[in-house]
């Protein structure tokens, strides 16, 4: 066991000293996170939480196939294993130490990804996620190490392992919901996906991160990955070759096919006894609803105007309807009003006026002072369709803001909200209506909602313009 630990520590040192390895281990996953969170999720924190699992799975796949599998063949081709073979250590020590090193390297990578997702994209996070993420990471690394090492063990050359790895990688990335969400793919591809191990890892991450589901609800998927991991490592150990001159007999390659058995059984079970498409569809719909809150369209549907800041008494009106609050524990030096409202000119979309919310954020981290500007909105009873609130916003692109809707009368745990970083150009934003606003709204009474604007990010000045608030 000590030999395994010593070897693993040495492998980690080697990775830390190799620039290319550092790039692909630490920076590359962050690039993927920014692509997924920034482009696909539109920076929406809840959508980022949904897609975080895809980024983690992508990383685990890369670690298994290219980090572990490719390295195993490279060590054999270079002749490094030949020297280890002369020492009193076994092939199991080599396999186990590589697996352990691969796992230990991934822990800080996941920490880095989490930090980026939380600090840059304000991904919602609970500390209870940490053991679940670590657990799924362990299972994922274990399972895909098995696949990667099995492929390495049946490949004779670097060229051969790269072909196999790329085939497996692309199939898993495009057909398991890692790059393209499964619910928008044809049904037959969704059926194929039930036979791919990465599908289960992605869906479990999404269930935990975006829907706070317990892992215990996914026992069959977990067992499949665990069995695959054991089977893969067993095959890799049995077919381990120290030297490049040792060629694997063709019949031994059939061993690798046994790794498909648990996956085939799982796919069969899912198609016959479960309905994974429905589950994938629910979480996807929820994510899309969150993303679609930001439409960025200048031609939103014509709705009922609620506030356009155009009246002659607009300055007077906003002092009655808009308020600013901050954390109760605000230090004395920040006891001045942290935000102000002003009417500015011109407004958005050819109008004359808009509302300017500006102030100072007192700090971040411990002692952070939350500033929240809130405006009361009244949805008239005569409004026939009410899907949500649409408005125009503008800022300087320097910090994100969270916009949320809540009911004036009721405390709601789940408020529709979006988080985005407005640019210096006016853009249209939508927040979907909370279910309570539609279900509870009596037909003969107005619905009273509050729109809140919370600047996020580091301390300093903040400034955001808002205009043309209306229903859609």
């Amino acid at each position: 066991m000590m030999n395994v630990i010593r070897m693993a520590v040495m492998i980690i040192r080697m990775v830390m000293r190799t620039k290319v390895a550092l790039f692909f281990t630490f920076l590359f996953p962050c690039i993927f996170l920014f692509i997924y969170a920034g482009i696909f999720a539109h920076g929406n924190p809840n959508a980022v939480a949904y897609m975080f699992g895809q980024v983690l799975t992508l990383n685990i796949l890369g670690a298994g196939f290219f980090g572990l599998g490719l390295q195993a063949v490279m060590q054999r081709e270079r002749g490094t294993l030949r020297r280890y073979r002369l020492a009193p250590i076994s092939s199991l020590t080599i396999v186990a130490s590589n697996l352990l090193a691969n796992y230990l390297i991934q822990i800080p990578v996941v920490g880095l990804l989490l930090a980026c997702a939380m600090l840059v994209f304000h991904m919602p996070f609970k500390f209870s996620f940490i053991p679940m993420i670590l657990f799924l990471l362990t299972i994922g690394i274990f399972a895909f190490a098995g696949y990667g090492l099995t492929i390495a063990s049946v490949s004779n050359t670097m060229q051969e392992v790269q072909v196999y790895n790329n085939l497996a990688w692309f199939a898993l990335v495009f057909l398991s919901g890692i790059s393209i969400p499964l619910p928008i793919l044809p049904h037959w591809i969704q059926t194929v996906a039930t036979f791919l191990p990465a599908t289960y890892l992605v869906s479990m991450f999404q269930a935990v991160m975006a829907q706070s589901e317990p892992i215990s609800a996914h026992m069959p998927e977990l067992m499949t990955l665990i069995v695959s991991g054991f089977a893969g490592l067993f095959i890799a150990w049995k077919l381990f070759r120290w030297e490049k001159e040792e060629r694997i007999p063709s019949k031994n390659k059939l061993w690798a096919l046994s790794l498909l058995i648990p996956i085939f059984l799982m796919g069969f079970y899912m198609n016959v006894y479960a309905n994974p498409s429905a589950s994938w569809g629910r979480s996807y719909s929820r994510m899309i609803k969150q993303i679609s809150a930001v439409v960025g369209s200048a031609n939103g549907a014509e709705g009922k105007p609620l506030e356009d800041f155009e009246s002659a008494t607009a300055s007077q009106d906003i002092s009655n309807s808009w308020k600013v609050t901050s954390d109760p524990g605000t230090p004395a030096e920040f006891s001045i009003l942290p935000a102000k409202f002003s009417i500015i000119s011109p407004g958005a979309n050819g109008t004359q006026h808009a509302l300017w919310v500006h102030g100072v954020m007192a700090g971040s981290g411990p002692g952070h002072v939350t500033v929240e500007a809130a405006g009361g909105l009244s949805i008239p009873a005569t409004t026939k369709t009410f899907n949500g609130i649409e408005f125009w916003i503008r800022s300087d692109g320097s910090r994100p803001y969270r916009f949320a809707l809540r009911n004036e009368e009721a405390e709601q745990e789940s408020m529709p909200e979006i988080t985005l970083t407005p640019s210096s150009k006016w853009e249209s934003v939508r927040i979907p209506a909370p279910p309570f606003a539609q279900a509870n709204a009596p037909t003969n009474q107005s619905t009273h909602l509050i729109i809140t604007i919370t600047p996020l990010g580091p301390s300093g000045n903040f400034s955001v313009d808002i205009d043309e608030i209306k229903t859609y």
Binding site: M10, M14, R17, T80, A87, P88
Partner: protein
């Protein structure tokens, strides 16, 4: 290190090994006594590396038996590895592993090991202790390979072509290290295709060719056993037929290459007197004469009909 000279540390009997259609070993047998430097001399492809790989337990013979340090390398591999040290051809370590890290890592695999500091000093690697493997020169890499082979203070050191690819100066460095092994009383098995290496370093040599031992003994015994006698390299003013030179007393054989007559004679003095007499009679002039004792190369040529380098 006291050595009991009669104790046999390695015994290989009738080793056969085939790779596909290639018969690498065809019944190799030899024995290595404790405390001696034993050389396996032969051209590339003779079966030297296969033999050494069987001895360290990396391969199993198709036929024959092996005992190393009283152990069976195939069945008692781990125990054997604790007691032997080996440097195979072209030792490769991870690029970013430093010299000291490599020694410490490999030392940690053994139940006992020599102090790393003394290894760094003994092999001239102290100044390179923090250098990564990919920055070392060929000679430094080879010295590290030898240091790694000694990290567990082994009873038997097996070195597969330790000087291949090194220039003459670096080769002499390695010779000095192997000579130190011998002075310490270590048992060494060395494979080589350099005659100079075998003659200088080995107490006993087995000449192998095409998977067979063609001759075995001390270098002196092998040379003395050679029927070719002393070699006279003769250059004459006028060419003469080789057959006439062969008729001179004590000349065993003669052939001509590029105007130089290679005359094998026993005893040499009688042949030289006869040669001078022949030249006076023939009105010829001796331009140059070199007298050389036969070498292992001559023995190899005599045994196989080919040169080692072929």
């Amino acid at each position: 290190m006291q050595a009991n000279q009669n104790e046999s540390l390695v015994r290989a009997e009738n080793l056969h090994k085939r790779y596909g259609n290639v018969q690498a070993l065809r019944g190799i047998s030899f024995e290595i006594k404790k405390g001696e430097v034993f050389g396996l001399l032969g051209p590339n492809g003779a079966g030297k590396t296969t033999t050494i790989e069987i001895l360290v337990g990396l391969r199993q013979p198709d036929e024959g038996s092996v005992q190393v340090c009283g152990l069976d390398p195939a069945r008692e591999s781990n125990e054997l590895k604790q007691r032997i040290g080996a440097a195979l051809q072209a030792t490769v370590l991870p690029d970013k592993m430093s010299v000291e890290e490599a020694l410490r890592l490999f030392a940690s695999f053994y139940k006992q090991h020599v102090p790393i500091e003394s290894l760094l000093e003994d092999f001239g690697l102290a100044e390179k202790r923090r250098a990564f493997f990919d920055t070392l020169s060929g000679g430094q890499k080879q010295r590290l390979a030898l240091a790694l082979a000694l990290v567990n203070n082994p009873e038997l050191v097996l070195l597969d072509e330790p000087t291949v690819g090194l220039d003459a100066m670096l080769r002499r460095d390695i010779y000095a290290i192997i000579e130190r092994f011998r002075s310490e009383g270590r048992t060494v098995l060395l494979t080589t295709h350099y005659i100079e290496e075998a003659e200088r370093l080995c107490d006993h040599v087995a000449i192998i060719d095409q998977g067979r031992v063609v001759a075995m003994g001390t270098p002196r015994e092998l040379i003395d056993r050679s029927g070719k006698g002393t070699r006279l390299e003769v250059r004459l003013a006028k060419s003469v037929p080789v057959d006439r030179l062969k008729q001179i007393d004590a000349v065993l054989d003669c052939h001509e290459t590029d105007g130089i007559y290679m005359v094998h004679a026993q005893p040499a003095t009688q042949a030289i007197v006869g040669l001078i007499h022949f030249l006076e009679t023939d009105k010829n002039t001796l331009l140059d004469l070199h007298i050389a004792q036969p070498s292992l190369e001559d023995v190899f040529v005599e045994m196989t009909g080919r040169k080692l380098s072929e």
